[in-house]
């Protein structure tokens, strides 16, 4: 039905995941695979770029919740960037901005990682 695409790229020591389309219970496993790969490679600094994401369901949100602790325990983090308003509203409603860092631009998130070393 709804299609979903995920792409992983490295920017320095930070991994950027571009998500595209619809992230729901059916497509969430694809994103999980990417996170598992990152854990295997011990890459804990992650930025998720939401520029082309159209929709996220609770199952999609669950993916970030499942991995954020491991990232943080290893001095990394999951940060969000380029989120459209309608997607941000979902995160906002649930109170994610209290728990996660959101950035308008991917660059800002990268800078945040860089400033912390």
């Amino acid at each position: 039905m709804a299609d979903f695409n995920v792409n992983l790229r490295g920017v320095g020591s930070v991994s950027v995941i571009d998500v595209k389309g619809y992230l729901d219970a059916h497509t969430a496993p694809e994103l999980e695979n990417v996170f598992n790969k990152l854990l295997d490679n011990r890459q804990f600094k992650v930025i998720v770029n939401f520029d082309e994401l159209k929709y996220i369901s609770s199952a999609g949100l669950g993916v970030f919740m499942a991995y954020v602790e491991t990232m943080r325990e290893n001095k990394g983090d999951i940060k969000f960037s380029n989120m459209k308003d309608n997607v941000y509203n979902i995160f906002d409603l649930l109170g994610f901005p209290i728990l996660y860092e959101f950035f308008k631009e991917e660059k800002e998130a990268l800078q945040k990682f860089d400033s912390l070393g």
Binding site: A25, K54, Y55, S58, A59, L61, G62, V63, M65, A66, E69, N86, L93, L94, G95, F96, I98, L99
Partner: protein
Amino acid sequence: MKLKERLNKVTREHGLENAILATILLFLFNLLFPTHDSILLFICGEILVSLTVIFLYNYIHTYLASRLEFPLSLVLNAGILGALIFFITSGTIALLGDPSGSTTGFFNSLLSILLNFVFIGCAVYIFSTFRELSFLRQKKNPSTYYNTMLVYFALSFFSETFLKIFSGITFIQTAVYVVTIILMGLNSVRVSWIAFLTKRQKYYLLIVSIILSILFGMNYAAVMNDNMIRKILYLFSPGLHTFVNLVMLYGTISFGVIFFTTLFHLPTAEAFDRKAEEVSSMMDLTNLVTQVFDFKELAETITTITARVCNAESAWLITKNKNEIELSSVNNIGFVDADRITNQLFGSGDDDYNSIEIIQYENIIPSVKNGEATFKSIAIAPLKVQGVVNGYLFAARKRDNVFDLDEKKAVQAFADYAAVALENAKLLKESIEKERLEKELDVARDIQRKILPSVIPSTDQLQISALFIPAFEVGGDYYDFFEIDEERLGFVVTDVSGKGISAAFIMAEVKGIFESLSKLIINPRELLINVNDILKGSLDRRNFVTAIYGVINKKTGILNFARAGHTPIHVCSGDKIERYQPQGIGLGLDYRPGFASSLKEMEIQLKNNDIVICYSDGIPEAKNNLEEDFGYDRMDKILQKSHNSDLDSISNNIIQELTVFSKNHSQHDDITLVIFKWNQNN
């Protein structure tokens, strides 16, 4: 045509009556006229005899037709009658001596009539038997030859009569006689039924047929020779004499042919037996495959049949699931041994038997016990469905001769059946599993409904309307009301993330938590903090629960509530609508102190006739064709328009609008809608 049909019907339906009537007439006629001196009497007698023969034949022939399944018993019955004739003829000849003796006198003529009846009966019965035998298992309809023979029998029957009327045509009589014999020969070679007998039956038939052939030959000679029997028959009816004579000859020829045919069939009898068994086994299996769904049971049958049909000492069947091999059934070999040999065969590495293979090994030892003969060859056939091998069927033989082509084919055929059965069993299991899951889902849905309050505590002071529409799957929406005291009413609306059984289970737990905590904690914020703590132990990392918990004071109209990641509360005051979304993260998102510190409580003073709406995200997140959300604004507009209506119509309006909006989309989330209206003056 019609007349013929009716005649046929009469003769068929009243076969017995006709036969009895003709017999009685014939009997009386002969009693009245012991000798047929005048030509008229003679012709009458002949006609009566022929009618009796025809009616008897019709009757017996339909009777025999019902026993075609047992050709051997047909043969045996004919043989017994043949023997009876033999004893009567030899007895009569021995007792009455030469043909010059007298046949007159009442007693003598009575005796002769009875004797003739016995002959008629026996001859007709035997004749009918031959008819059935020559029609048995024929691919082409043999009736042309047969009917021609019948005509010639009739001609022979009446040839004496003609001779009596028009003397001097003896050559015709001889010609008819010879043609009849040729036709008998032609009809006698139709013995294909012999091929279908088992080996044992063939041996039996071989002995019986040679005895009967000789016996009938002797009968023929006895009837032909100039003796008392011939005289009795001839005096009674020359036609009958000819008929009996021909039947005896027919018997001699027929049984002779049967004897030689059987003799020639004997060498292939075993092969034929095996083929027949193979075919019948296949038929049994075809039935089993569609009827038996327990694969083990079927595997048992398949190994048994394989060993038997393929002349193998042992057979066993293994199934392969991914790379795990499981022994399903064994025949005449221990599980341990079968397992060991299988491993031996597959251990060598090149273990893909994609088509049937015969393996000859010197060193396959069938049993760990000493002294047993070794297997000389093993046939391995893959259980293949759509190119995928799901297992193997083994047949092992201790004798020196290798499996021949036929046996190889048979093993493969059985393996194919096993493959189909295995696939069936798998599909059935899957469909049962699916059905089971669907039933469970039904149960879960049922439970979900029961978890929701059955009675809404609506009063004049505080009117309440609550609506819940589940999505197709079981969801995780939950709402409830708790009467804290006479003035205060607690309420909760929650939404468990995810769908299906897991969400339903969490929802049930959430209900339990809220129900017990609502009795202990009145403050909404504190209550939610406690719920979050309790959920820590039971929520999966990626699951969360959004909730709104509030308390309304019916007397003062004060609404206190806290929101944990849930959709906002809308308050409609006149046509003014306010959305309240105090800070608060979803339950289960954070178990650290951050949850409590970020959770804010809110207090709202309601005015008279204010409407408060709580709902789950199934409403704002419902989508239309363009993948747009229903959102908050659409709901607010409906509220604005209908805030003066009663609560149920407001609720209906919202759902109606929502249905129209998302008409081409299936509902993918539960929908919960709880509406309150506070009346100050009551």
